[in-house]
Amino acid sequence: MNDEIVREFLVESKENLDSLDRELVHLEGDPRNRDTLASIFRTIHTIKGTCSFLGFTKLESVAHVGENLLSKLRDGELELSSAITTALLAMVDAIRQMLDSIESSGSEGERNDKALIDTLVALQQGTGAAPPNASTAASGDAIVRQPLAADPSAEPIGELPVAPDTATQRADAQPATERRDGDPTRIGETLAEHGSVKLQDAAESLPAQQAARGSVSEASIRVDVGLLDKLMNLVGELVLARNQIVQFTNTVEDSNLIAPSQRLNLITTELQEGVMKTRMQPIGNIWSKFPRTVRDVAVSCGKLVRIEMEGKETELDKTIIESIKDPLTHLVRNAVDHGIEAPEQRAAAGKPAEGRLFLRAYHEGGQVNIEITDDGKGLDCERIRRKAVERGLIPADQAARMSEREIANLIFLPGFSTAEKVTNVSGRGVGMDVVKTNIEKIGGTVDVQSKVGTGTTVKMKIPLTLAIIPALIVTSGGDRYAIPQVSLLELVRIEEEEAKTAIEYVHRAPVYRLRGHLLPLVYLNDALKIGDQTNDRKRDRAVNIIVLQADDRQFGLVVDEINDTEEIVVKPLGKQLKSVNTFAGATIMGDGKVALILDVMGLAQQANVISESRDRSIAEKDAAASKEAGVGRKQTFLLFRTGKDNRMAVELSLVARLEEFTTDKIETAGDHRVVQYRGKIMPLVHVSEALNATQAAAASSDAGTIQVVVYSENGRSIGLVVDHILDIVEETVAAQHSSKRSGLLGSAIIQQHVTNLVDVRGLIRTTIPAFFDHPSVGEEQRQ
């Protein structure tokens, strides 16, 4: 048997089966759509025809009964029912299994499809039509003659040569017939012989078919993925060679070299982009299987679910598409099984009986966001909290302090499942943690937001590609390491003179106070057990801290030297090194040497950052901090001045950012002065005005710029306008007398001056009460 033909057949049939899944589900929603029916019929017909030609008789017999059932449907003799759809989908599955088996072993495998065939036949006989003659199907001529013999009045084959789109889609139907046992008779002629099509019609339709075929094959070709991978590797090589040349060119002043080197630079970049594009696939490729998945799950648990998609054309690297396929499928199944309620419950809750599952994909900031939203019952935070504590996943006191959003995200913990009963779909307590692990493995993040009674949204952020990523290059212990930019938050450099005091120790764990919060420090030399660790630290030299995000924790990585950011080509590590999860791969630097890429998650685990049980909620810390502001403990304050010499302080942990705006940026919305800030409108509150102090606002407007302390909560920001920012101090606040004025916590002596402590939340509440209303579900949580 010709392997080439079989391979072609497998590739094409698999694609067709995927579209069958889709079309069948579509047809269920629109049973009278003749176009869809005809298309389904043609697909099955072609598969059947080709496999009879290739001698796959089991496959053929299954496809054959399916085809008969479909022809009844198409001719309007049968009405599509859920049972028929289920049977047809089962047939598609059976065909798929056989194709898989053919692919792996070359034969259809030992199987018994009698039950399925019987079901299909029984359904077909629902209106009393004669069962198909099995012996006809087994004969080599079944492709053309069988349907005619079974139902002379129907014209199933008539459409094949006449409709040009048939040929476009199913170009192999004809060659398959041509090749059959060396019989040169073309399908048109065969049909003509049987009198169902006029010879002239067939002849006329032929050029149209061939033209259609030609245009399709010219527009695209199949390329082996291996070849693309190889191309990608070569381009990676080229990028490295380019980097080397560009580096060298910078040291010479020969225009003969500089010009071509610049051209090489540009062309390489374009080539890199081009090759990357060949590896990009629309996410629709995996989504297209979901209507079927949703239908199956919905039917099995007696629910009605409609699936909607937006952004199907959003493209991702092939390897990423592969690795998000399973997590996505799991989430979709989960949403239908757990999220969306049964029709009665929905009706009782005043929702339409049919649930809605909404998939959305879009680009944002060099990443692809994927959202899976259901309008189901939402997550029961109380139950999750209880379960998590019951199972010892988190301590009870911690659970009590967690926000709803954090509670919702507990579902990603290993061993967590709240399903009351285990269904065959989900509820075994595996899954969500696997989803999270898999998404994080490719450098993505996953987050869940839910509102009881309204629904749940799972949001994933996925990098576009894994092959070439921006990274920060650092040196430690004499070796270079690359840190993927996605995990990078900021860089902190502590100069020599401060180094001694700035790094403190909790027991033996080094920490650094970053804007009032303790940042655990990890010395890369220690974590990797390289270099002379003790000597390194004793030398009082500048300390480079790289603030990294691992999971939802931050830690500071101390390295010897920070070099530069670079686009690096990620190369996998050999199998021998796979067990070390501290490294995500390796790359080749401009000088041709190899550098290891650090896996931030792995590193955090190695250094025990992740397992540390620290309160993760900054928002709650803030609230607690403002309450405790009167207690004598060391705090960091931002000092500023309003009016002439009104000294004020706010706790630094409440400050998101310090900004400066020119006065012409100030606009008015309603009663408030606002500025545009990071694409959103940020209201401004003049601290002095709000506290009924002197009319300092005018004075600051004259100055041309205003100093703004940005406070953020629930993704919304508010700007506190101050006259002059003085300093950041660390003080043990003592001897305060509390104030009755709203907006002030009290006053204290800071730097030998009496200073008012501002109650930021109180201040905002009095001036813009709406700020704390309805933190909307869709808002981004700040870091």
């Binding site: 590797n233 990676g236 090589e237 490295l240 212990g477 070796d479 220690d526 990797l528 057990k529 390289i530 190369k571 996998p572 590590l573 050999g574 199998k575 021998q576 090194l577 796979k578 067990s579 070390v580 501290t582 490294f583 390796a586 080749i588 041709g592 040497k593 190899v594 550098a595 290891l596 190695q606």
Partner: protein, 153 residues
């Protein structure tokens, strides 16, 4: 007439080793290596083989022999394995020898543990013994060892 086969030969700690030429991709001189922290010392580092990153395994350490003298640079024997190319660091490269199959004999019972696993057998040549190495085994079975060296401080 007896069957023959070709072996690529090399030396490690005075011993004479050979692997079938088909398994050898190439032999290159010493390359600068990037060390890999947290892995067993058997892995000496990573080398850049024309853009491909290859793990270099020190054959002396793999066979639990003594380390090379300071300053003695190893050679890379790049072998093809099921999981891609791997470099075996050896002391010196020998010739490609054509040996007769009937000079082959299984490893002696007294062979030490580490070598015993990796040495398939011995060709008895006129003036010395040629140990045939199992390349797949030589490059595998390392990852478990990493647990030992990666232990917590």
């Amino acid at each position: 007439m007896t069957k023959t086969r070709q072996l690529c030969t090399f030396f490690a700690d005075g011993q004479f080793f050979g692997v079938p030429v088909q398994q050898v991709q190439e032999v290159i001189r010493y390359q600068e290596m990037t060390r890999v922290p947290l892995v067993p010392p058997v892995v000496r580092g990573l080398i850049n083989l024309r853009g491909q990153i290859v793990v270099a395994i020190d054959l002396r350490r793999r066979l639990e022999l003594s380390d090379r003298a300071e300053g003695q640079l190893p050679m890379n024997v790049i072998v093809r394995t099921a999981d891609g190319a791997v470099s075996l660091l050896v002391d010196e490269i020998g010739d490609v020898l054509e040996v007769e199959e009937d000079t082959f004999e299984g490893p002696p019972e007294t062979l030490q543990a580490a070598s015993r696993e990796l040495v398939l057998g011995v060709h008895k040549l006129a003036n010395h013994l040629l140990l045939v190495l199992d390349t797949e085994k030589a490059v595998n079975g390392i990852e478990n060892g990493s647990l030992r060296s990666g232990a917590e401080v």
